[in-house]
């Protein structure tokens, strides 16, 4: 399938990207790795008139330790995350989740920023960043601003990023050596998750987030509350579907997804405690 025709702008810097977005407004989309955007364009579910290719922004690919957090450039590829020793020691859960995205070919091209801005609730990394209370740094014509993961994902393929902004950095707090487990359920190994459950143990308790249980990635707050009150993994996981709006689609009904959430949250909790 062939995308609808578009004008192509190859940007050489963040400023050039922002200028192009300001000039073209809603007509423009930023192209990072293309692993989410190009499939939509090939089905003509997305038909931007202008594609702003950000691939040459090499200065936005990095993993750096900055005090109490890890700073990750928005154009860092999943492959570079999954092989980052620094990320492995400072925030191993994020490295582990990055290794679960798609397959080798996808991870050679896809970027964390692209995944975040695309805003698909079936993506792996947004759910992890939600559980980690990440901060997103956006650059626009009026300067730089920071956004919390908790309020960033607004709806299906919809985020708090303005049309004239470029996501430039993702900041995740350093995570101690506590356990974590990501349970990704799919039929073929390289598929999107039908449902995914991530449990991360930290000093202030266990965070649990869900993939593909609503229009955005979700925190399983009922589960987290139950755990804080001393519930066992099995008991806490019984509330996994609370507050979710699991879709029904080709892969699973909403009812089945709710069941999967309970099973996968229980497994994630048990394995994160193991």
């Amino acid at each position: 399938m062939i995308p609808a025709a578009f004008d192509y702008v190859r940007a050489g810097s963040t400023d050039e990207v922002v200028a192009a977005l300001v000039e073209h407004g809603d007509d423009a989309k930023v192209l990072a790795g293309g692993m989410s955007l190009l499939p939509l364009m090939k089905l003509r579910l997305a038909t931007p008139a202008v594609l702003v290719d950000a691939a040459r922004l090499y200065d936005l690919s990095y993993v750096r330790e900055e005090g109490d957090h890890v700073a990750i450039g928005a154009l860092t590829r999943h492959r570079d995350l999954e092989t980052s020793e620094l990320l492995g020691t400072s925030c191993g859960v994020l490295r582990g989740v990055a290794a679960e995205v798609g397959d080798n070919q996808v991870r050679h091209r896809g970027t964390i920023g692209g995944s975040v801005v695309h805003g698909d609730p079936a993506s792996d990394l947004p759910a992890a960043l939600l559980a980690l209370d990440a901060t997103f740094v956006a650059q626009g014509p009026n300067g730089v601003r920071e956004l919390d993961a908790a309020s960033f994902f607004r709806g299906f393929l919809e985020t708090a990023l303005e049309p004239d902004e470029l996501l430039v950095e993702i900041r995740v707090p350093k995570v101690g050596p506590g356990g974590w487990s990501y349970q990704k359920f799919n039929r073929r190994a390289q598929d999107w998750a039908i449902v995914g459950a991530l449990a991360v143990r930290g000093e202030d308790g266990t965070r649990v987030s869900l993939v593909n249980m609503g229009a955005t990635p979700l925190r399983a707050t009922a589960v987290e509350r139950a755990l804080a009150e001393g519930a066992t993994p099995e008991a806490a996981a019984a509330d996994a579907a609370d507050g979710t709006e699991a879709p029904s689609d080709l892969n699973a009904s909403s009812t089945y997804r709710q069941h999967l959430a309970r099973v996968l949250v229980r497994r994630a909790l048990e394995q994160s405690q193991a």
């Binding site: 609808a4 025709a5 290719d53 397959d103 070919q105 996808v106 091209r109």
Partner: protein, 183 residues
Amino acid sequence: MRTGTVESLADDQSDDDVDGRVRNDRTTGVRVEVSIDVNGRSERHDVEPRTLLVQYLREACALTGTKVGCDTSSCGACTVLVDGESVKSCTMLAAQADGRSVTTIEGLSTGDDLHPVQQAFVEHHGLQCGFCTAGMVMATVSLIEEIPAPTEADVRMGLEGNLCRCTGYHNIVRAVLAAAGTE
């Protein structure tokens, strides 16, 4: 006169109606010059920005070893190497590979000598109809580069982006392990 599903990829095609069919979507007339080192040879073509890398390789470069299978990033039949790393060329714009080096299945052998991975697929019967094979071989080359001594589990996970409907993967896995010397 070129017919088929893709119009105006070659330099000499115009933006007017082709074969009487009306171009039913916006055409800006925009072209982008895409220069790629393909299998050691400099290719330079002016193409529409929406040209996929797989189209550029198959149609502009006349290298049809790379296949379009699912066209939706699942099957991996379109796998090629970009700067040595496996990518799905159906999900990449040719323009994204501008200035890079691309290796296709045609670029593996040296004269009449097969690449070790190709040789292993032959010896271990790692194919039946052959449609997935170019993608499997290219994905394997990239995998072995990254994991020089893979276990069977490494191979099965490492090739998760490549689907085969014929073989059940058994001989493909054997071929990859043989090529890596870890069978």
